[in-house]
Symmetry: C2
Subunit: 468 residues, 2 copies
Amino acid sequence: MTTLTTGVVGALLAALPADRVLLDDDVLASYRHDEAEWAPAGRPLAVVRPREAREVQAVVRACLEHRVPLVTRGAGTGLSGGANAVDGCVVVSTEAMREIRVIDPVERYAVVQPGVVNDDLRAACAAQGLWYPPDPASAPWSTIGGNVATNAGGLCCVKYGVTRDYVLELEVVTGTGELVRLGRRTAKGVVGYDLVGLMVGSEGTLGVVTEVTVRLRPARPAERTVVGYFASVVDAGRAVEAIGAAGIVPSALELVDRHCLAAVDAWKNMGLSVDADVVLLGRTDAPGEAGDAEAGGMLACFETAGATWAAASTDAEEAEALFSARRLAYPAVERLGPVLTEDVCVPKAAVPEMLARIEAVAQRNDVLIANIAHAGDGNLHPLLITPPGDDAARERAQVAFTEIMADAVDLGGTVTGEHGVGLLKRSGLALEQSAAVVAMQRAVKAALDPLGILNPGKVLPDETGASA
Amino acid sequence: MTTLTTGVVGALLAALPADRVLLDDDVLASYRHDEAEWAPAGRPLAVVRPREAREVQAVVRACLEHRVPLVTRGAGTGLSGGANAVDGCVVVSTEAMREIRVIDPVERYAVVQPGVVNDDLRAACAAQGLWYPPDPASAPWSTIGGNVATNAGGLCCVKYGVTRDYVLELEVVTGTGELVRLGRRTAKGVVGYDLVGLMVGSEGTLGVVTEVTVRLRPARPAERTVVGYFASVVDAGRAVEAIGAAGIVPSALELVDRHCLAAVDAWKNMGLSVDADVVLLGRTDAPGEAGDAEAGGMLACFETAGATWAAASTDAEEAEALFSARRLAYPAVERLGPVLTEDVCVPKAAVPEMLARIEAVAQRNDVLIANIAHAGDGNLHPLLITPPGDDAARERAQVAFTEIMADAVDLGGTVTGEHGVGLLKRSGLALEQSAAVVAMQRAVKAALDPLGILNPGKVLPDETGASA
């Protein structure tokens, strides 16, 4: 301890109230990882839990002074290793920054600290007849700051867009230690470059967010649910395409494949996998008769595409039970062993082809791959499942993971639809983007983080022929 | 000519087919200005009308080699001087890049060259049951490339957002002369920094856009129109607030003040100004009975707020006539003399206060100021009207212009909601943003345009104490 306290740790202890700085080995260990399987994680020197922007600024300035890497962390629910610690870094956890500061029903925005949990914000908004749409599956645990860092999506994106579409203003500590406000709270504004949009999705590599102003919508009507069972992914893909061609924009359109259905059945005995190879779950939140028409339209698309069974749910409880199978898919699959989660996004019309390629990847590499997908967006989450403790299977899964990224790019898609690049997809970024585009990103990074202390080694691929 | 042809002009003539390069003095003069009154404009060395991305790249490379400024220009309908020529620059006009390359009804996107006119794209989409929402008042003339450069808004923004919300992918020639593709065509994607969002609204200072992929929506139901006449802007402001509080999101909510009404009457004899001090025009595109309910809701809000007359229009023709008063306001006002167009955006609840302050600015500076406003967004367009040839009035108008920006910032607003900074609002940018934020913008500019050739002197304020 005495050696450390002369360095950045000493600076942190001097600048902050004592309870903000955590140095215990066991505690430090618990802040090393997010939920990405097998992404490398280093050992932090210290974990800091600031309460206010000025405290964050003090941490950044201490790190700048001592040239120490800084890794910002929300709830640690990330799936790409973006919040994993770097050796010798300071981890800034936003967990003590949970204040909802403003909910303005007239201007329709909310101002929150970054550690506010997504579902908590949504509940507070709902109490005032308002709605914050972005709904990643991690919403019960993940934070708005983490959602901003990864530009999180969710089920409602197909109609309502992603986190970036809702962030109006950010308070940020910059890579030079300044505390700044970016963006604006008005409905429109075009002064200067879109630094807010640049920060959103930058995974902690361009600044540390200390306050977020998000746009809200009025509460929406209750959703209607339409369910379809299909004998093949090709039939399900046809249904998705037909819904688009009919001019219907569902408020959710989710796909669950037979491996997930079997895993859910094995856990909860819902009997789903007996009846279907693939399930599609559609929702509409259009009001009144328009909602009836959209639900009927989706049902017709399911039937025309060859659904073995399809129905529009008439009561909320039944619909909720059906959607719970979607939500249970991930934990159900996790019961089978460590899961590596993919996140490719392809053109909607390429979803059946992409699912066929994923099946081929699974067979070629002898890896069990289950699929859940935001089918309406073409955003697929192949879940690569390995038996516990089987190192050879892990290696095969990592090969499969890389092959799936290559297939997505080949089909005109992207290697990550909503989870972020973090550590796991840096090679995928280099696959998807030209060297000139990667160079532009490096130039932006160097411009805004000139000393390279902010979450180094994440997002951008290693430079070849030069030190990172 | 002989001296010029040894420099950048010679390089252009060598690299491009002869008809792409315009050198005639009268022609060059016609490319000096956009529609911003009184913004300074330089003299270009040459105007180039490329047809393909590779030709644009050749121009950028010639300018890089000869360290010559390059100004990109769409239709020249800008209102901030962003496309004004710089002395000794090359103007790249996108007018010969008018190809609509793809309209994909399944993936719902369109791929266009930057010189495609907004209304032409909208018409081509409509023919396939699709809709490109951004609808600036300049839509009959302005280009998608220009809309991208300024992040153009319009009437539908209050419900459907601005240009940036629709741009998926850009092909760009960078400040280092590379031809790159930024973004993606999939519905979602989070690989690396949002360079597309950064380019949108950057007013030609970070790259030259050579192709744009925009997201489309399905065609929407016909709109219903609700009109309210009010005796004061305060009453009209109350109506706007009530609509928000009722959870109604109109598809347009426009305000026209008595000066505009009088100007329209003087031109078209519509008799509007006799009946109202302020007119609000609301629209809803909600389908079926939901649309009836929203129209009824808006009507009730108008009446509760004290409308002297209000009605929901039952037929499309009548509604169109009412909206034509909104569209005629700007040309009607222009008949009175040179107009300096403001573009401030304030919190919705501050609209009455802002209108009162604009009235005070008008009286204090003896300037006639008419107002049209996207009231639902808080985006006001005070129109500062001067008698033809009255230099003293011009000077007073410029003082008033600056005071209005200061009032908007004071009320928590922004100096430009949708027109851009260009030349006219650089001091406004410095007023609105902290020095640290301006420094971030300069760092981004230097990172992506290291030689400073792209539209120099626009957007960012002059550096104090250092050479620009």
